[in-house]
């Protein structure tokens, strides 16, 4: 699970991130509202945690902007205990949950898990495309086992069958924002995936769209 965390209190943020990491939750952290909005608009996260008081742009504004664009990523709002009105405002504007500061990290983790489990409720779903069957719970693609990274990338592809998934998006989603990453990471894993798909004997191909990304399609 990967989340975006917009929080300007550095000390708090670092502590929270440390604990979330232990709970196997990857966190991209930014400290101001504008940057937060920019990242929030990308479809790279399983959930977004927004502090309300932020420099440049408030958490409520981000929330409104995100929901305004019809993006449905689950959002949890954070705010100081007293800001009760904000809570109501936030839930009105489409926040999925609300946590008063100071909060227990365990509670945040619990709610993140709750949110991420909500829509599918069971990740035992099997995604299919032209004879390929991907079981995400077992990370099995037909008879082939996928590693964590392979699985993450393949899931992005098969969830948008036939559509191009941008290389940038894969990088952001699987490796996260902020640090310096190489396009080559993705290329390496696409190469691994192609090998495995070939071994299965499928006639599905991962097609490269130069300068953009990749998509699943049939051989021809």
């Amino acid at each position: 699970m990967r989340i975006l965390y917009v929080e300007d209190e550095k000390f708090l943020a670092e502590a929270v991130i440390h604990i979330l990491k232990k709970a196997k939750i990857d966190v991209d952290w930014v400290a101001d509202g504008e940057e937060g909005l920019e990242l929030a608009l990308k479809p790279n996260y399983d959930a977004i945690v927004l502090d309300i008081m932020l420099p440049k742009m408030s958490g409520l504004d981000i929330l409104a902007a995100v929901r305004g664009r019809n993006i449905k990523t689950p959002i949890i709002m954070l705010s100081a205990l007293s800001e009760v009105d904000d809570k109501i405002k936030g839930l009105d504007t489409g926040a999925d949950d609300y946590l008063a500061k100071p909060f227990k990290t365990a509670e945040l983790i619990a709610r993140l898990h709750a949110l991420s489990r909500r829509p599918p409720l069971n990740n035992a779903k099997i995604l299919k495309y032209e004879g390929l069957e991907y079981d995400s719970a077992n990370r099995m693609l037909n008879e082939a086992e996928l590693t964590e990274k392979e699985a993450g990338i393949f899931e992005m592809l098969i969830k948008n069958p036939g559509a191009v998934v941008a290389k940038e998006q894969i990088l952001a989603r699987i490796w996260g924002n902020g640090i310096e990453y190489e396009d080559n990471y993705v290329e390496v894993y696409i190469s691994y995936l192609r090998k495995k798909i070939k071994n299965i004997g499928s006639n599905v191909k991962i097609k490269t769209v130069r300068g953009l990304g990749y998509k699943l399609c049939l051989e021809n």
Copy 2:
């Protein structure tokens, strides 16, 4: 036996937990409804004891949510003597038993035992998988005797034959929430189980899915 106890009266909760512990019943205690629901949805308990009056979310709501998801863990409702209507509502919604406050802890223990002996959780059942026969009542796997921890883990595996059981789930279920535990506990016991399965001469294997967990499958 491990139960979940959702109760907001701290003093009462501590007293009850103390006595249940003596009766060899492990208790995970949470004080509010939302957290209670979160834990109740996990398949980690032999029974759930729900107070009705709770912060954030009532015991009845939890009950409804749990039953709504077709989870059949036995549930005992607790409530003040006067709330007779609640009793009816609770049993309607699928509670297995009802206890009026104040109750005698001995009575709670008796009812927990009664519930845990019931057909659905009747542990006289023998679970089978590809030549392996696991008798949970006697903790016997074919001719091998399993220790308590070994048995707990093996039961999780054989109840989901062929599907991955997350290491985290195993930790939560066998070692409980909250306490500090190590991934290595699970690894050690998986190692013990593998040895015993091998000694039986079975062709069943415990396969590890790196970064996720373990599953039963056939050798190949």
